[in-house]
Symmetry: C2
Subunit: 204 residues, 2 copies
Amino acid sequence: MRQARRRYDIDSLTDVALRVFAERGFDGASMDDVAREAGVTKAALYHHVASKDELLERGLSRALEALFAVLVEPAAQTGTPIARLRHIVRRVVELAIAVRPELTVLVRVRGNSAVERRAIARRKQFDAAVAEIVRAAQAAGECDPALDAGLFTRLTFGMCNSIVEWYRPAGALDRTAIAQAVVQLVFDGARPRLDAVPPDEYAQ
Amino acid sequence: MRQARRRYDIDSLTDVALRVFAERGFDGASMDDVAREAGVTKAALYHHVASKDELLERGLSRALEALFAVLVEPAAQTGTPIARLRHIVRRVVELAIAVRPELTVLVRVRGNSAVERRAIARRKQFDAAVAEIVRAAQAAGECDPALDAGLFTRLTFGMCNSIVEWYRPAGALDRTAIAQAVVQLVFDGARPRLDAVPPDEYAQ
């Protein structure tokens, strides 16, 4: 969708670039594509950014900052370990929807450049921080101690990440319903249970 | 990894192409890359295949055939709906590992060509067939009726698909442990439960 020519700053150009990367893949997208989508000349684009890698790095930073910000939210820092985990998983689902272009680009990073490898390393730090809370939940008897904490976080965030591939704002499912389903599945499972957590608590 | 020059047929060239596509992305990979990796000339490659799209189509067909074959396995056709679902989920995890290059390419398809759109349509048929069994499990009281069956299958297969991104044959986790963790999470959840399904049954 070509847009009307207008003044851009680095943030709005990053917005455009993320949309282009999410659509065509980072490797498949060119600076020509970004300039065309933004309605600016390539020279004007290079006035704002040094390279396609810089746009990627800015997008990945946004995604990572949003993820790490979740870990310092009050509900991620206080309460029982499993309540903290439920909060984090719910918020990661919400981010997959709220900052979908950023998360899409982060999810698809393969480590093909220094920028991508740095993002992968930070993402691993995030996962490790969450795995630590999983271990605390296991020690507290709130999570099955037989589960590998690292595997649990990979699988859970794999489920969260997959949402970027199919979520559409006009779809029948809103973000609350999706977040609730993810939290229910990974902590309570699809099988009915007598001690099920009420939906209200999922949303807390 | 450059290989010794040898005779190739269409199947082994598809193997090589899938590896190249999984590494560089389909859009980022060229027929030159495939020829180089196979150790054949581009002319020799074009003797066997008409286009990069043909290689993609062959890879996607393999992935989809493997998935649909699961649905006609005896354990997917007989028994309680939830036992059938457990079998299907376990087998999809195993496929994500056993035919990882094929599944990787299928997971990353975005609908950028007729070949990709056909694959997405067949993949949706697979998901719809599984959602049907989820509804049967709900009707039988074996799965929470409040869960949206389509959302459940998307999230569950999202978790399964994510495995292709990090699984390494030399890793600490074998495919049985991974499959068991996925089945446990989506059906029983991470929270301990009195009526937990014993690990042996996950593996049945």
